[in-house]
Amino acid sequence: MTLETLLIVAAIIFCIGLYGALARRNFIAVLMSIELMFNGVNLTLVALGRYVAPYAVQEQLSAVFTGQVFAVFIITVAAAEIALGLGIVFAVFRSNESVDLTDAAALRH
């Protein structure tokens, strides 16, 4: 387990999520892929915080937690995003009777 292998694993998870977010038809599947992308980013942040020495760590040792603090914020924002995203899913489902994103064109014109 080195920094490079962790970053590569995180990049693979992020890019699988990117592919899913771009290429899926179902709204819920797109939201799931976005969560995968968040997880890849969190993994990157924690790995960098664990292995890379930031400038501030020379003066304040608790600066090694900076990556983890960022990850906590990202998890919170992801939770808020999912609460709103699923609310929008149900609103679209009520008006269209489907969650297919290619049918959801109410805002297009």
């Binding site: 990117l18 899913g20 599947a29 969190n42 608790s62």
Partner: protein, 194 residues
Amino acid sequence: MWFEHLVFWALSVVAIGGALGVVLVRDLFRASLMLAMAFVAVGGLFVMMNAEFLAVVQILIYVGAIAVLFIFAVMLTRDVQQGNTPNRLQIPAAVVSALVLAAMIATAVTTDWTTLAGAGLEAKAQLAQTQAVGIPDAADLTNAGLTPAEVASVSSGGLADLLIGNFVLPFEAVSLLLLGAAIGGLALARGRGR
């Protein structure tokens, strides 16, 4: 050492396999279970990087709340069995993701990282990270060669020290964001006229 490698590769394979399952499995219910599996594996990787608090948060929020919400959403909408179909952008999306992946891997491999080990801080930082989760023992930290100022900064609870200290403004902003998201989610879910 070989055991650590084994656990790391097993967790990585499970995480990547779960991620692939989310994108490739046609049954949306199974895709959400795959998503929960990938979340658990990423939590295991957090444990391996001495981020135990974050691993617990990952299991509680991602597996306990977000994956369960996804399963509810899948069950409450239609087309569960054949739901996860690709759209017309499948090939361009695959090309774009492959290019992004190649760029990221090239950056990760070619960058000359200034690591904690290189700066002679690895042992100190690792000790600080493991100690800050439980109740830190100041005598242990002093024996490990930390200066009194460093013992104080870790003993006051590392992560919490940063979260409520240096990052207190984003912390408050996030609480406002959560309030807004809760009200917005209620308004969206209630619908019009009811």
